[in-house]
């Protein structure tokens, strides 16, 4: 008979870390719980109290606060609280209060300890540090996809089209008509997803036409019977080996014995054109803007394949930015081929997400030009023409014009070095967060092409503007901006999700997480004299300089990677469905572990915001 606690076990089996338990241990865990019901407002743990109970929320919600009344965390269904005191045996540091009528499941410490002793995975969940959990959640979701080579992409990724088949007995002439109408070079013979044989262009040539056979010959007499098939999830590498070794050009893909697709040698060849290295090289080879535009059409496909091939999701934006850089450089070279060499040393600047190397699919251009102060008087005409050409090219390649006009075509953002130094000197005196918000994009800056010495001078000015006499005013305004974002602490219920519009019940992960994180890391970088632009490199530099503790750096890095990775996966999924990219994550569609990690990430960001607010009152 079923276990009497089948429902309880089912719930636990979906709840980390119980989902990692063996069936017998899961059954023991279910039986060691006791349920209580408490009304909203009831205190469950008091500060200073010892806690020897594991609390699991079955229904309802809990908030924890510290002694000063600051909100520490919010927990919902399937989540536990009071863990630090339970695990460490120390008195509770936070008070826990129900914010809804709740059904709580309680497990005595002895049973909890037994489970931890019996399962490594279960124990790991509790003893792993916050940063390990943050990164672990993403890695587990990509389990088994370790290598970053496209050869490990599942074959099914290459074949989107449903296979075309005709039943046994079909006259060859009709089969040929179907192939011609559908524009395919091969046809499957069989019914109900079964593959009896395969008929290819070559068979029609060699076995029908060359032998003068009657067009009404049944297809099974000329087909190749029982062709080799591969599982749709096999890696591309197996497909290449299978086809090359046997001299075949068509490979039906099956799943559970039913044919689901077809891959041809041509598909395999096209795969490598989506490799980022290949694509960057292709961009370099183009002699015309139209050629660059053509290569850029493959960028969305690259984005999808990068993820499918096992590249870590959080690495994808960096690869995408590399492609953007290559496109920009090529467009600059093409423009200069027409305009001639620049009249003075100069550099093409990228701002914002391209500078931070965190580009996703939908991205507009943010750029500028700096040139030497001793340039001839008419130099700006040259750079204006250059800017126009490159900016138009970027737009044609899918990097649309910046709606705010932050482009080298705008005179304000096409300046001699002294002009840029004046800009930064002026910005450093901006007193209000709104003013700072408008210019903060310029503080993420990278030189894409041209004289890097000019870029270095601007970066130095940027740090001066933050650390000189402007520090008090400017950094404080920047810090205020960074702590303004309301970071959601729990998101299991409506109260922090968007409650109206087409993105109902979703979490806007960019505004709620990525923006506050990049903003606060930028403040810390400027404060610490770090001039690199990417968020992860900034964190690494801050830790290396001893300005930030390793654990703080690791936590923020983990939170960044998690948010970045989730965003990339969301965009890839939208691209697959043919929808425009947006940042509204449906939290019901991510795993429990990712949800838990996401809450940890928000906690990390909130703590960093609190520290920032304290340092810049």
């Amino acid at each position: 008979m079923d276990s009497p606690l089948a429902d309880v076990e089912r719930f636990l089996a979906q709840t980390p870390p119980f989902d990692s338990l063996e069936p017998a241990a899961l059954r023991r865990a279910a039986a060691s719980f006791e349920a209580v019901y408490r009304r909203s407002g009831t205190g469950i743990l008091r500060i200073g109290e010892r806690n020897d109970t594991l609390f699991l929320i079955r229904r309802g919600a809990v908030e924890t606060h510290d002694g000063q009344g600051n909100l520490i965390g919010r927990y919902g269904e399937g989540e536990s609280f009071g863990l630090q005191s339970l695990l460490g045996g120390r008195p509770t540091r936070f008070r826990a209060t129900l914010i809804e009528d709740s059904l709580l499941w309680q497990m005595p410490k002895a049973d909890f300890d037994d489970l931890r002793a019996g399962s490594r995975a279960f124990d790991d969940f509790y003893i792993r540090s916050l940063e390990e959990r943050l990164v672990g959640a993403l890695q587990e979701s990509a389990a088994g996809k370790q290598s970053a080579t496209l050869f490990l992409t599942p074959l099914s990724e290459l074949s989107r089209r449903a296979p075309i088949s005709v039943p046994r007995g079909t006259p060859v002439v009709d089969a040929a008509k179907v192939m011609s109408e559908q524009g395919v070079s091969s046809l499957l013979v069989g019914e109900g997803g079964e593959v009896e044989g395969i008929l290819t262009d070559r068979d029609l040539r060699n076995r029908v036409l060359a032998r003068g056979r009657d067009p009404s010959t049944p297809v099974q007499e000329v087909m190749t019977p029982a062709p080799l098939t591969l599982d749709a999830d096999s890696p591309v590498l197996s497909g290449i080996v299978a086809m090359a070794g046997r001299g075949i050009h068509h490979l039906p893909l099956t799943r559970d014995g039913v044919v689901v697709g077809m891959v041809t040698t041509r598909d395999l060849l096209s795969l490598q054109t989506h490799h980022p290295l290949y694509m960057a090289a292709q961009i370099q080879k183009q002699d015309t803007r139209e050629g660059v535009v053509e290569v850029c059409r493959r960028v969305p496909k690259l984005f999808e394949l990068l993820l499918a091939s096992g590249l870590r999701a959080e690495e994808v934006p960096k690869v995408m930015s590399t492609i953007t850089d290559a496109v920009t450089r090529r467009l600059v070279h093409l423009a200069q081929a027409g305009l001639g060499p620049a009249p003075a040393p100069w550099a093409w600047l990228a701002f914002g997400s391209q500078a931070r190397e965190e580009q996703s699919l939908k991205t507009d251009q943010d750029n500028g030009i700096v040139y030497a102060d001793d340039a001839p008087p008419d130099a700006d005409d040259y750079f204006a023409a250059l800017a126009r050409s490159v900016s138009d090219g970027l737009d044609a390649c899918g990097y649309v014009y910046c709606p705010g006009g932050i482009m080298a075509t705008t005179p304000q953002w096409r300046q001699p070095l002294s002009g840029w130094l004046r800009h930064f000197a002026h910005w450093s005196t901006l007193p209000d967060p709104e003013g700072v918000l408008r210019v903060s994009i310029f503080f993420d800056l990278r030189g894409i092409e041209g004289d890097q010495a000019l870029v270095a001078r601007i970066r130095a000015a940027m740090v001066d503007s933050a650390s000189g006499r402007g520090k008090a005013v400017f950094l404080t305004a920047l810090a205020r901006q960074a702590v303004q974002y309301e970071v959601p602490l729990g998101f299991f219920r409506r109260f922090v999700l968007e409650s109206r519009g087409e993105h109902r019940e979703t979490l806007e992960i960019k505004g709620a997480g990525l923006l506050p994180l990049t903003d606060l890391v930028r403040v810390r970088a400027l404060e610490g004299g770090v001039t690199v632009a990417s968020t992860r490199e900034r964190l690494a530099a801050l830790v290396a300089r001893g300005v930030m503790s390793r654990s703080d750096g690791d936590r923020l890095d983990g939170a960044y990677r998690l948010l970045c990775g989730l965003r990339v996966r969301l965009h890839a999924e939208l691209a697959r469905r043919g929808e425009a990219p947006h940042n509204h994550l449906d939290v019901r569609r991510i795993s429990h572990a990712e949800r838990a990690a996401l809450r940890d990430a928000f906690l990390v960001i909130r703590e960093a915001q609190a520290a920032l607010a304290q340092d810049f009152p």
Partner: protein
């Protein structure tokens, strides 16, 4: 225990010809003034072939204990019962989802009593629409030489009606307002899958915990407020 309660228990003990019941009745039953937090309760649910205790049969019994105000999951049990005679499950399978094949390994009525009576000893019994469980228990015990149970009965359906009336709410009883699922929804417990006696017993036990909190809490509510 009140004098009346003690007398009734002693009388039942003398009259019962069912050894398992006689043994179970040796344990004193809770007094009506006992607070919920000190009360031992068994929450019970039967799946039956119909609603008439004289004619219909118990196919499955599920129960779960509440002790110290807490639902103890480890004590959850379910016992399936083979129907008497050759009638089988018949049409009722469409309601409870138990088919004759499911009951092939089941015990008989005596086997059910041997497990259930010790679990009920000294405890109050709770059920949703408790008159059904009460009626079937009485009929079952009489068939096996026992007498009606003197245990106090708590009816979560009656408690739900009382809570709603106390709050001055109109009750659409025929519209299902007092059904287990509706009552659970009202107390924020969510729906439950009606697929086994023990699942229903657990669902009912959670509802009882919620009702007691809404009546003033385990430290204040006494048995007499509930039965």
């Amino acid at each position: 225990m009140s004098t009346w309660g003690a007398w009734r228990q002693a009388w039942a003990r003398r009259r019962s010809r069912l050894p398992a019941q006689v043994a179970a009745l040796a344990r004193p039953l809770p007094a009506r003034g006992t607070r919920f937090e000190a009360l031992e309760i068994v929450v019970l649910d039967f799946e039956t072939t119909g609603l008439d205790p004289a004619r219909d049969q118990i196919l499955s019994a599920g129960w779960v204990p509440i002790e110290r105000g807490r639902l103890r999951m480890g004590g959850a049990r379910e016992v399936r019962v083979r129907p008497r005679g050759t009638a089988g499950v018949g049409q009722s399978a469409t309601i409870h989802g138990l088919f004759d094949s499911d009951l092939a390994q089941a015990t008989d009525e005596a086997g059910l009593l041997a497990e259930l009576l010790p679990a009920l000893a000294g405890r109050a019994i709770a059920a949703h629409a408790a008159s059904i469980e009460r009626g079937f228990l009485r009929a079952l015990l009489r068939r096996h030489g026992g007498v009606a149970l003197p245990n106090p009965f708590i009816d979560t359906l009656a408690l739900e009606r009382m809570l709603l009336e106390g709050a001055g709410e109109r009750i659409d009883e025929y519209g299902g307002a007092l059904m287990l699922g509706s009552a659970r929804q009202r107390r924020g417990l969510g729906t439950h899958a009606q697929h086994s006696a023990v699942a229903d017993a657990l669902a009912c036990a959670e509802l009882l915990l919620a009702q007691v909190e809404h009546l003033g809490g385990a430290a204040r509510v006494r048995l007499r407020d509930l039965d």
